[in-house]
Subunit: 422 residues, 2 copies
């Protein structure tokens, strides 16, 4: 819309937006919409797990003393809770430590140094290692690749998931492509859930590399926010139909169910993958923290307990997402500045402004006391080629803080856009 404005009108508007900006600045605010952190009220929901949960009881259902060494893949009752969450069987799951990011990093290191099930040799011994990176995506996925010297190839995101034509072409022709990052449900940052067709095409990829893996980071599988949640096909089931069940590694965690600092990370895959990985894991640890696994089992009791718990998170998060989405629509949508997907769950809203405005918008936000995720963070190597994507993380601030933070964000986005036309 600004494109139709006269120069005089744009100058007047800019003056007005700058005045508002200065007013915000004078308040000396310190607000943070940069990271996908649960708020303290969400964490309070699980406090009981920290107190009487293990009173005098540290033995698992089948007699394991959870205080002592042993049980590499997780205790019986904890597996039982999380198997239905991912739709996998008892032989297809490992309950890990407190970080699914670490499980992913670790899986890549093992693949590089030791290889994967069915692969002829370790990744490091077959030339350059490349990963496909649908973007915008999760900055910490990309950071792992960058640190380990894995070459990242950006793949664009469509409204139903990553661009499968590109992925099919690349994966089937380049044996150096060993993996792809996916956040298939309520994707980070777009909040998009992969369509059934996209999942089926993933399950039928024909990789040139015999040791290719889909890194399926299903971090937000039960993190619905609105009444009509998205649904995602079970990738392992689909892969079984195509006979390619060894092609996918699935990850999730309770970081945003119980505690980000003290939750459980979960790895799921075909039985053959799990057996192979357990054999590798046996040299890197004697076992993960079974006491924390038992705590989770006693607190949630079963998968329904998890779902009931997520409804409590939802009640806290929904007003925050409403606030962000309503403010975006009211302030920017009607002006036609920028676009975003309205997510039904997850932890983020992904704003795409006019090209070449993201850095400037984020800088203006910072100047007025609002920290956003860094510009470019959602792209490989931190470079957003169009400089337009900004990840908004609405979960940590209170609704009141979010209100003012979003007003500042919108004013900054407008100002950055007006500057484009002058």
């Amino acid at each position: 819309m600004y494109g139709n404005f006269s120069k005089e009108k744009l100058i007047a508007l800019k003056t007005e937006l700058e005045k508002t900006h200065e007013e915000y600045k004078s308040r000396e605010l310190s607000l943070d919409m940069s990271r996908g952190k649960p708020g303290p009220d969400q964490l309070d929901l699980t406090n009981e797990m920290l107190t009487h949960c293990l009173d005098g009881d540290h033995i698992s259902e089948n007699g394991i003393d959870c205080r002592n060494y042993g049980v590499l893949d997780g205790i019986y009752e904890t597996k039982r809770i999380f198997m239905p969450m991912l739709g996998v069987g008892r032989g297809e799951i490992i309950i890990g430590g407190n970080s699914s990011l670490n499980l992913m990093y670790d899986a890549i290191c093992r693949a590089m140094l030791q290889g994967v099930y069915g692969g002829e040799k370790p990744w490091r011994m077959s030339g350059e290692i490349k990963f496909l990176c649908p973007a915008p995506g999760y900055d910490r996925h990309f950071a792992i690749c960058e640190k380990l010297g894995i070459k990242m190839i950006t793949v664009k995101m469509n409204t139903d998931g990553p661009d499968m034509d590109t992925i099919e072409n690349l994966v089937s022709s380049d044996p150096e492509i060993k993996g792809i990052w996916c956040v298939p449900m309520y994707s980070n940052p777009d909040g998009i859930t992969y369509s059934d067709e996209v999942v089926k095409r993933f399950a039928d990829l024909k990789p040139k590399a015999d040791d290719f893996r889909i890194f399926w980071d299903n971090a937000y599988c039960v993190h619905h926010i609105y009444d009509e949640p998205d649904s995602l096909l079970n990738i392992l089931d689909e892969c079984k139909k195509t006979g390619k069940e060894d092609m996918v590694y699935i990850f999730t965690s309770t970081s945003k169910i119980s505690f980000p600092g003290g939750g459980l990370a979960i790895f799921a895959a075909s039985e053959k993958n799990i057996e192979f990985v357990k054999n590798q894991l046996a040299v890197e640890t004697i076992g993960y923290d079974k006491l924390n696994q038992l705590r989770h089992a006693k607190f949630f009791k079963d998968y329904d307990g998890v779902l009931a718990h997520m409804a409590k998170h939802r009640a806290i998060l929904r007003p925050k997402f409403d606030m962000v989405l309503d403010t975006l629509e009211k302030e920017l949508g009607i002006l036609g500045i920028g676009s975003w997907h309205k997510p039904s769950g997850g932890y983020f809203i992904s704003y795409n402004g006019p090209d070449n405005t993201a850095r400037r918008t984020i800088a203006l936000c910072k100047d007025a006391g609002v920290v956003m995720t860094g510009a470019g963070a959602t792209f490989p190597y931190g470079i957003d080629p169009k400089d337009r994507n900004i990840r908004i993380a609405p979960t940590y601030p209170s609704v009141e803080e979010l209100k003012i933070a979003m007003e500042i964000f919108c004013n900054s986005a407008k100002l950055a856009s007006v500057e484009l036309y002058l």
Copy 2:
């Protein structure tokens, strides 16, 4: 002594020992002296940590919400407890997850894939990787090397630590030697503590490789059993004197202080190493479990609290070590069969029988219902060149179980020795 026996006498003795063996077999026992696991009574000492320890209180001294993301290197009060345990400063320590074995594995993977502070390139890019392995040693150290394709070079253990002449020669001449495994106090399995001279010679190694590291697994640093504990020089202090403080990585854990399944692992090194490693760690995890760190801080309160707690462990373990050592002396020592170091702490007693008897002794034990650590486990690649070393782990069974297990062990050792002479 058996060597002086007549053939008739040996045959009679063998018959007698076999009869005793059959008697043990008929009892259908199932006893385990194979792993260094604390007994349930030891774990009970720390039960309070699991109950009211965090009642309504999950904020660290300096205001960190331990339930949420953040703080890569560990919370303030937990560092304060373990700094004096290792004799290091606040900038020289990282509190990790539940497994020091995993910290070591992880440190090696990082070194292989990314390199170490001051190194020119990742280990994997400079030819074959080799580690020196004082042996008998810890089987899980050797398993890491074997799995990652690191070539192991065995170094003999003397009564004051590993043979430093060999180590100095090898390390200073071969740039492919990137590390050495050490359990410097109450070594696994011998129970030997490195002498001051040995520590000083370690601190003054002149490695040919600029990215060489001493892996100083100080697992038993406060695990004294007898009234006159060993003492160990502080390797980091000694390395500072020689200007080589970046050469050593120190590890320990509370696995045998609090819980093997739910304790804390600790990494210590020079400030430059710590800064470098933190930068690498930042991509592999957002942080370790701070709630468990807080639990430990509240339970132990300070380092004196740890020491007082270890006195309780000592009271439980001492009768077990007495039982093993007394039985060995009474049954084998007076016959001159085998030798062992009498440890003042740690978790093991290391028995060296006559050459070519370890496998047979362990097989006889198994036949009579007593599981020992596998023959050869204490050597690289599982091969004890003299087939004589057996690791005895006396901590898990009760004193009563130990009594019978040790009787069976001694009978087996005698029988294996008698068979040698026939």
